[in-house]
Symmetry: C2
Subunit: 355 residues, 2 copies
Amino acid sequence: MNLNLCVLEGDGIGPEIVKEAVRVLRAVCGARGVGLSLDYALLGGAAIDRTGVPLPDETVEKCRAAQAVLLGAVGGPKWDSLPSGLRPEKGLLGIRSALGLYANLRPATIFPALRAASPLRDEIVGAGVDIMVVRELTGDVYFGEHSRFERDGVLHGRDIMGYSVPEIERIARVAFGLARRRDRRVTSVDKANVLETSRVWRETVTRVAEEFPDVALTHLYVDNAAMQLVRDPAQFDVLVTGNLFGDILSDEASMISGSIGMLASASLGDGPFGLYEPIHGSAPDIAGQGKANPLATILSAAMMLRYTFDLPELAGAVEQAVSDALGTARTPDIRGDGLPVWTTEQMGGFVAQRA
Amino acid sequence: MNLNLCVLEGDGIGPEIVKEAVRVLRAVCGARGVGLSLDYALLGGAAIDRTGVPLPDETVEKCRAAQAVLLGAVGGPKWDSLPSGLRPEKGLLGIRSALGLYANLRPATIFPALRAASPLRDEIVGAGVDIMVVRELTGDVYFGEHSRFERDGVLHGRDIMGYSVPEIERIARVAFGLARRRDRRVTSVDKANVLETSRVWRETVTRVAEEFPDVALTHLYVDNAAMQLVRDPAQFDVLVTGNLFGDILSDEASMISGSIGMLASASLGDGPFGLYEPIHGSAPDIAGQGKANPLATILSAAMMLRYTFDLPELAGAVEQAVSDALGTARTPDIRGDGLPVWTTEQMGGFVAQRA
Ligand SMILES: CC(C)[C@H](C(=O)O)[C@@H](O)C(=O)O
Ligand SMILES: CC(C)[C@H](C(=O)O)[C@@H](O)C(=O)O
């Protein structure tokens, strides 16, 4: 067996953290006789600097030729003043869309070793938190028309929010399907008391639920969901929502775990192909200093082994090694509990050796 | 001096909690020779049941004739299956808009007596949290066109998000003005890396900031803001944002205080006129049982005394009485720390007597 990956290092800490994730993949695959072929391509600011655009055609082609994509992070102040069509984020949105990756899976869990790092009290997170946020990734106000115009001499900004029934159906099926392999509960989040998009969302999710009679469905307004995630995150199993609400709620949920430097994500379409990236950003302020936490990227690689390549044993080995690492040392982003502070490379090296 | 109020009890627990707030107002005004005239009108489900619409013209007229409006809460499952134009929430959105109340002020603070009730750890909230969320209330995707349509046999939901420069300018000025009376720091929240509405928002807020050189302005993406509110809420002074992000973030921020049953809000326009309401909902599940916490409504009445009537001494007396009450007993929504559990009426009675 040989795994064909396209690697997009991106900007800021991207190259450093991807390097460690690749090291871990090499180790875990090498030890088990699984081959690994890597092709590198440009995305985001790095692509702008070398080609003038955030998503060169060549990158899309290389990704399409691979079985999975490993991505670091994109963006940084260096490119913030560029016109919006030429900003690094456009590359990220573009690649998700070009590859048809409509389902973004963001697990928010608390590692036992990190319980004390959660901003939430022990009474609240003590029994564990294990949420799978399923965020729709190629629709919503993200991909509607964005425009500015003058009317009677007054400038307006305008964006179109919208979803079609098939777009909602397919993401709902992903959520219900995942729930079947977990605690069989789905919470769908919308703002149906105000938005028509949300009303269509709610009706559609309710209808899809009939295909999954063994899964319980609840609806929550987004303002309430933002509150419940802080009040009692343990109540959630699978949380499914649109692109915009998913962006906000998955970041909120991730913070509950104690460090955004720990959280992985998978972006999937209809087949096994997927793009895997940490949910944190490119952290240009600490780039190149060996301070970045590579574990979210390493855990993203583990998700890749599980979802794209159906190698749960390898994924589990990586996850166990990460767990062991957390009991041994920390990168500077996590409250240390008196444990030694390691560099990006030391952390990656430890996991690679254990996995 | 005589205060002319219009009172909208609304649905669910609305009537019970408003009753206590009125009791407190009567007490605090009576003791200081300030007159109080009350006119009652219908809003939300109560209005639908008696007039067929969520916002009767008479209600708008009565509100306009008053100096301030005290509102309970609206909505409930009873009216959830009505067409969207006839739902209780439409009454709430309609009255805000009809009265030109574009600035929604939602303080999120931790009462010292309630510190242990916050879901966040002592290390995080121990030094106190005092955020003023300023939410724009009459624009954004809330008030753009909402529609559903079929294209090629596929149903779509669609909503228009948008802001004009003058709408952003006026809410920004409210935020900067408030910051001047606080810690002189404003955080503006948007999603300028994706939305054109947000880019116009960011440019405009940045320009308005020049009128307030003594106030420091920072910009934050909404996903990051949702995270930072959990990670370190004490970092914020004034947080200004649009209607949709404000809905989500203010509810999230409110939870940090330990109970949404404690948090008040003021909705203001250009003059002293204002509408005051708790930020929690109508809680139909506990309506009529004496379990509702009236303190958010009582604190909303205190905000009314301060913002519309410029009676800080009376407002302070109410707030102090609420603080005293929390040291003495709790309604069932708040973790009790061994204190006695009081009914809605007992809680209101105590505050009325002390204020
Ligand atoms: C960078 C930005 C466009 C992106 C998004 O909002 O999707 C990011 O926040 C994310 O969640 O991956
Ligand atoms: C009931 C609903 C329409 C309303 C809103 O979203 O504005 C409520 O959540 C609020 O925040 O007052």
